[in-house]
Symmetry: C2
Subunit: 259 residues, 2 copies
């Protein structure tokens, strides 16, 4: 227990307030990214499995785009930050910028957790059809760029579950240790679930969708009831996918926390 | 005059209302992109002329990042859209996605106008130090990605001057032709200037910075007077740079409009 109690008091800057503030700030980023994707219609050629004519690459425009853009971002050091997770982690080029020493707050096992396959599937197969208009305006590159912004914002938020779990673990170590040792996912899930907090988050993101997605005019408060992204879709996104997927990350992290 | 009168009535879908709506919508994109850049501190290593260690490339992380990302976007067809202008137009790879037929509303000479050097200079040397906090948090790739979003949003808005000029030219062709033929920039500038409209735009973008940049909470209207990007900086950005640079594009376009 001595080692655990010690790690419990490390002065690495991680606080519950910091984690909360980041989660709240990330909501704005997610809502902005959805509003910006909704500027473009569905643009189905972006997603056709063989629309592009790229020698040696089999996939859609968006797959090629995300893969290549992640490679560029990797050379600029994006994935050195433990909060960032690539969608195509295989064969990423190394960073060409000098190493920055990010604070080490997570258990090293955190590095092995990446549920971006689930984030990708959720975004393209469930969320996207709910908030973009049908149609084709030719802007496939801009569409893919906006999709990447949404994907990265959602991925960052969901994988932030590692930090949420770490801070909760430190606060209530004696509650978490038995179910971790027993690999009891149900108990961990109930320890991680606060229904009233989740309801407040869903209400707040809906309010952000209303506030940031209104057609703002001078002199009045904007056209009531007309938003660039339906607030109900944003609160549903959180309730149905962001919160559950975050908990999945939290549980995966906790199960490795005592390794 | 017959040919001109004819071109005056082309049914290509360009209307003053459409141009206005696009300009207003683009304000939201610009404000969002500034707020998102302000998530990160200045992060000066992003801009150091020789910070990265890239064989065969001499420049800053952000230059390399923008150049490489534009290449990826070019393969996905971004610059096929006449509203998009690259910052590094030399040696861009060809689009690998099938050609989309964008409506041809502009005079072909529009293609030769690209003032992104001025946009780049304004953004990095004037605007950026006004709205980001000092400091270094290591997120150079994310910083460069956010810079690119700001640059592209500002570039699109400023080069939209081509469409603004085209729609104004069609509306008031007899007023515009004499100064175009005389290459009289001053008269063109005064024809293009509506001080009351400009004041309204500056007020509206400040209001957007307040509305989109507040810390939104449930139950109240957010903390008054505390915004992620200073609204005065956003209205100054429009008054000092976006509006004047747009007019520069408009004048360059008009001077070629009768070629």
């Amino acid at each position: 227990m001595a080692a655990n109690a010690e790690s419990n008091n490390v002065d690495d800057g991680l606080t519950l307030q910091m984690v909360r503030d980041s989660l709240i700030r990330q909501e704005d980023t997610i809502v902005f990214s959805l509003i910006e994707r909704a500027r473009f219609p569905f643009n189905s050629p972006t997603y056709h499995p063989s629309y592009g004519s790229v020698p040696g690459f089999c996939g859609s425009v968006v797959e090629l785009f995300v893969k290549q853009t992640e490679a560029v971002q990797a050379t600029a050091g994006r994935f050195e930050n433990p909060e960032e997770h690539p969608f195509f982690p295989d064969n990423l080029p190394p960073s060409l910028v000098p190493h920055y020493k990010y604070p080490e707050v997570l258990h090293p096992a955190a590095m092995s957790i990446n549920i971006n396959k689930a984030v990708w599937d959720m975004y393209f197969n469930k969320l996207l059809p709910l908030f973009v208009a049908p149609g084709d305006d030719g802007n496939y590159a801009s569409t893919a760029a906006r999709d990447l912004e949404c994907l990265q914002a959602l991925s960052r938020r969901i994988h932030y579950g590692k930090l949420v779990a770490e801070v909760k673990f430190r606060d209530e170590q004696k509650d978490y240790e038995p179910p971790i040792r027993a690999r009891d996912r149900d108990t961990l899930l109930s320890l991680l679930t606060f229904a009233d907090v989740e309801e407040a988050v869903k209400k707040r993101v809906a309010k952000k969708a209303m506030t940031f997605g209104q057609d703002l005019k001078l002199g009045d408060g904007g056209e009531k009831g007309k938003y660039k992204v339906d607030p109900a879709v944003v609160s549903g996104l959180y309730g149905d996918w962001v919160i559950p997927l975050t908990k999945e990350v939290e549980i995966e992290y906790l199960l490795r926390r005592l390794d």
